[in-house]
Amino acid sequence: MNYSVQFGSRWPSIRVGLLSEQKYGALINNFAHAGRVSRELELLNAVDFVDESQKAARHMQWDAPVERVRGEETAPQETHSEQLSVEQTQTSSLLSTSISPNIKCYTFSKGDVSRFPPARPDALGTLGYYLLDAASLLPVLALSVQPGDLVLDLCAAPGGKTLALLQTGCCRHLAANDISASRSNRLRRVLCSYIPKDISTDVRITSWDGRNWGELEGDTYNRVLVDVPCTTDRHSVMEEDNNIFSRMRLKERQMLPMLQMRLLLAGLLAARPGGEVVYSTCSLSQLQNEYVVERAVEVAETEYNVSVHVEDLSYFRSLFQDTFSFFADCRLGELVLPHLTANFGPTYFCKLRREE
């Protein structure tokens, strides 16, 4: 698959982003002194992008008519909001209420190349924030965990998204799994440094093959996150052109879409009817993204008689356009593209609902 075909004239800009230093976000740990830590990060000029998007959405709703008049006067590329009709604006505001207010993640604004210092432990040894690619929070936000949910994180290590899931404070129980025992240990260590003991009792860490989850615990979870292994384009883009270094053996790579498809399928089967599943990758490849989703939906339907609905997440694009650079042309799901001014991603995510 040639990315210059898939992305056309946008490819050089994505490529230079992939090959330059990526940006991080600081996920605030609500189990530490979140307020103090937030203020420290604000002093660095970082902003909580989740909160900002919520503010912007509320604004959009109230100011929608005004915005539109102004939008018509200004050059089209200057105001993104005008591209949305009033109707869409309102729906996105309504939908944005499903975004967990408890997930706070600080980033430096577009074009700012500052970095976060490593998090320091407080008096109890708990770390104040976790550094990760801020775009990797979008799948978690898309999952919109509700109070009392049973949640499964099928491929959880090293644990950035697990941590974010726990920040919502909504998981009645969280099953965090990763096939690799050593990586599961890393996940355990991460949780140890961020989550107090009494809360982590509701977390179960396992090292099973996620592909079997349907048989192990079928029809069980309200929410399932399937964050599959994938080719990290940030490391492999050079090899596309030069064949100099290959991080993953070819055979392994060819097997990836099959593994991803089976993991997503297992996630769908582990969800209870009406439950929701988010599939995510850090790849730009359609083969690992849309194609895998389509195949899994098809197989669930034909072989397991489970019907699945692919949800529309296009409101994420308008909600988070100030922080991330989105690709508008995914057949299914949403894709964050690396861009020098907002060098997050790639992150692909697609939300599926298991029909009752």
Partner: protein, 270 residues
């Protein structure tokens, strides 16, 4: 009128030991050489403490090199320190520059002096070191060295070590041959600028280092086209990118360079 000029100038100097008529003769000489009254005023404003005789001697030497009154004044305004040299030093330096083959047809040496008058005040050793680096380390032919000195006389002001690095960068990293290096006026461009533009293109997928056989899968833009255009033209015509992206890129690259190959300390990626 000239009397007034003379007086005002004389005040700043130790005019005591120079007779009024003597100074008058000197000013006449300047006029004879083609300087206007206004130009003479300007000339005397440079290095005010300098004795008029020395001033005259230096100016004469420059005129002997083939410069006219206009360019002499411009060169001296650019590098007033040249006035502090003795006529003999100047002559030696001019001889040496001629031997470097700069002087062919006078026009060239004149150009060098206008572009880069401070070349006269450089130490002998310095000039020699630069020429040697170009010939021996960068393996330019004598003709090429001459052309480089014609085109970018300011190479003589650079650290020989920096020149060598700059050359090696474009030769090995970018795969540019000697002839194209000369034509690109590489030595007029700061190395940081060369790297910014080259690495930007490389990461955009628009530039490739040629392999051992000198081949690439894409057609690289010429070095000249990359470094001899304004930043705006570079972005629009060569990189097809935006100023915002290039601005961020330059900041990131500067950070990368500062850190060398050290990995950026961070917690987990996923």
């Amino acid at each position: 009128l000239l009397e007034a000029v003379r007086l005002s100038l004389a005040e700043q100097q130790r005019q005591a030991d120079i007779g009024s008529s003597e100074l008058g003769k000197m000013l006449d000489s300047f006029s004879d050489m083609g300087f206007s009254n206004a130009q003479i005023m300007q000339l005397f404003r440079l290095q005010p403490k300098l004795a008029p005789q020395t001033r005259l001697a230096v100016v004469s030497e420059l005129l002997l090199l083939g410069l006219d009154a206009d360019s002499t004044l411009r060169a001296l305004q650019k590098s007033p320190e040249v006035l502090r040299m003795t006529a003999q030093q100047l002559r030696h330096r001019a001889d040496y520059l001629r031997r470097l083959d700069l002087g062919e047809g006078n026009m060239n040496l004149q150009q060098v002096v206008i572009d880069c008058p401070s070349i006269f005040t450089l130490s002998w050793k310095k000039i020699d070191a630069v020429v040697r680096v170009l010939k021996e380390k960068c393996v330019f032919t004598v003709d090429q060295v001459t052309e480089i000195l014609h085109r970018c006389p300011n190479v003589l002001l650079e650290e020989p070590h920096d020149l060598e690095y700059k050359f090696q960068y474009v030769y090995f990293r970018m795969g540019v041959k000697h002839k194209a290096v000369v034509k690109s006026d590489l030595f007029r461009t700061p190395i940081a600028e060369v790297k910014n533009r080259h690495i930007f293109l490389e990461r955009l997928g628009l530039y490739q280092t040629p392999d051992k056989k000198g081949q690439t899968q894409i057609v690289n833009p010429k070095l000249k086209e990359i470094i001899r255009v304004s930043e705006g033209d570079f972005l629009v015509k060569i990189a097809h990118s935006s100023l915002q992206e290039f601005e961020v890129f330059k900041k990131l690259l500067a950070q990368e360079e500062e850190e060398g190959d050290q990995d950026i300390a961070s917690e987990e990626t996923d």
